[in-house]
Symmetry: C2
Subunit: 371 residues, 2 copies
């Protein structure tokens, strides 16, 4: 991994699980939402990849902060922020919702949890949606309350996650469908558990609503997990890229619209849903968006780490930039994600990836997720 020292301070918030993560010998962090996200433990990324596909892992993803919106106009505010029709969500259901500004630019891409008709959580990527939602609500004088509740997500990911959690919390967790949530009892408290997470290997996320219980929850799962070969982990770069899971700030930013991000299917642009960027997105859709995120499969063995974007060239012109990449030990080629210009976004398009080690690696454009 490409790492440099990270200086710790209160500003880069610890989580209820950081003590445990440190006890497990965490080797590196990233910073998301002003909070620590573990990025490496003792195993290599490749060892973790195989482990995640076969067993079960416990991830501290507390940095997925919740923005809680409650009140008579809560649904109105949430709908104003996203092009996705949220009226179709039931209580107990989750929904992936691109958030856009007035130009259609991506503000974030959270998972929406509908807790009640007037109560929502947005489980966010790396931008201050709390300030965005508060600003909109205060400006428009909406009758809502917007806060960051004391909720710290612990993800249990991998094919053995269901068996492990059923052994702890009972068989009812098996009945939770993908992108739905229910509640479990933990030490006399009621905690939200959702089937989902930032991998394609199956699993759950526990939205612990009491920081003081962090170590106890970790320990309970860790101990029961011994029978399932549990390992401390974190979102795995190989698995994430292969699965086509995007990362706000990496694959897309405020400068990109959801059509460019391949999120057209989540955008209701016929005017039946009113949201901030409606006119802007209608205009972009009418013209046709000019670039879109694709996979790039490219040659060469394990390459340098993609700490800054790598140019993607075709026909001697710049057609994109790789923003996340890793060598896949399963596919035996490098897998990368890149916004690619319309002129070259067709699957099979030959490209050259210019890596910072000076090597130009040939490859081709592929649909997501990777095969």
């Amino acid at each position: 991994m490409s790492t440099s020292g990270l200086n710790m301070s209160r500003r880069i918030r610890r989580t209820p699980y950081t003590d445990r993560v440190e006890q497990h010998g965490v080797r590196g962090f990233s910073v998301v939402n002003h909070m620590l996200l573990p990025k490496a433990f003792q195993k290599t990324v490749e060892e973790d990849y195989w482990h995640l596909r076969e067993h079960v892992q416990i991830w501290d993803v507390s940095c997925q902060r919740q923005v809680q919106i409650t009140g008579p106009e809560a649904a109105r505010l949430v709908q104003w922020m996203t092009p996705r029709n949220i009226s179709k969500a039931r209580v107990g259901q989750c929904m992936y919702v691109p958030l856009v500004d007035e130009r259609g630019g991506m503000v974030n891409d959270p998972v929406l949890l509908k807790l009640a008709e007037d109560r929502f959580w947005l489980s966010i990527a790396d931008s201050d949606v709390l300030l965005w939602a508060k600003g909109l609500a205060l400006g428009a004088r909406l009758d809502v309350k917007v806060i960051e509740p004391d909720v710290s997500v612990l993800a249990i990911q991998g094919p053995k996650a269901e068996d492990l959690l059923a052994s702890i919390f009972g068989q009812a967790v098996r009945n939770i469908r993908f992108y739905n949530f229910d509640f479990v009892d933990f030490k006399g408290t009621r905690q939200l558990i959702q089937r989902g997470g930032y991998s394609k290997q199956g699993g759950f996320e526990i939205y612990l609503n009491d920081s003081s219980l962090g170590s106890a929850l970790w320990d309970l799962i860790w101990e029961a997990g011994q029978a399932y070969d549990i390992s401390p982990g974190c979102p795995n770069l190989i698995e994430r890229v292969e699965g086509g899971l995007l990362s706000y700030g990496n694959e897309f930013t405020l400068d990109n619209n959801p059509l460019e991000c391949g999120m057209g299917k989540f955008c209701t642009l016929d005017g039946t849903v009113d949201f901030l960027g409606l006119k802007a997105l209608q205009g972009i859709a009418a013209q046709g968006h000019q670039r879109e995120i694709r996979g790039v499969l490219f040659d060469g063995g394990p390459g340098p780490v993609c700490g800054k974007p790598w140019p993607v060239i075709a026909d001697n012109v710049h057609v994109g930039q790789i923003t996340s990449a890793m060598w896949s030990p399963r596919i035996k080629r490098n897998v990368g994600l890149s916004m690619i210009e319309r002129s070259h976004w067709a699957s099979g398009q030959a490209v050259i990836v210019q890596c910072p080690d000076g090597v130009a690696r040939p490859g081709e454009v592929v649909a997501l997720p990777f095969p």
Copy 2:
């Protein structure tokens, strides 16, 4: 320094100066506004402290992102966000402006640069003021444009900064008063230069408005700086704490109001200035705020690094927490910053600082800045 690995990715943005910073052997970073902030080079924090007080340093503080607010209602939006009366600012002047929400909670504490009557920059600490300002403006339908311009601040700090910059940009820079700005020519471009910065040793900040010129600006200053014993640097923890310079996210958060932060002198609460948190702050002021940031001078040699808050105890009760601290080689004691409860905030109050190495270090409350 207490560091752990930081994983690099596009999401944690590089700056126009990162290439140069790496060439100088940067040993550690922090992340501010989704951007790299160098935190350590070859020298120790203590060596850097003495160097900063005697010579001149070049700091990559691009993470102080600018939020540009322009348009007919720009001044109205800025005033709405802050309790400080901004009508008193002249074009060419800077103003330290606490930003508060509707409860009076601190959203950020930027420096405001008044570029024109209808054009402002907010040079921000670590929160997405871009989203906050945009949200307020869109919600209230204000006639403004809010963007993050391509501006990357390079700070030149230390007693020799003026001589160095006069040698490069001409004698006119000597005429810039503290917290005022002017413009200098650089390679045919016009760049803003302000007298100020995040130290008490004097200096300037250059608001480079063209990323492509980053290395050229660095090189120009670096080469001319050889005659002044220039060194690559960064905000120095000892100097910052001694000087009582606060850090958003460390000493205070959205949960604190500006009165608690010692910013009462920047709050116009008589109703002549209308801003978001007016009623809330009037209520707090009427009751008297219950805690305030103070210095704490405490015993023991160089202690552990303050990566998480340290409890401050007096009369066997918890009266605060140290959020930034370092051993001062000049004062020969540890200097720390802590929000202290009203009951114990008087200068001279004896306290105990409970450090994570298990040592309880005796000390006392002092006024800021440290003597």
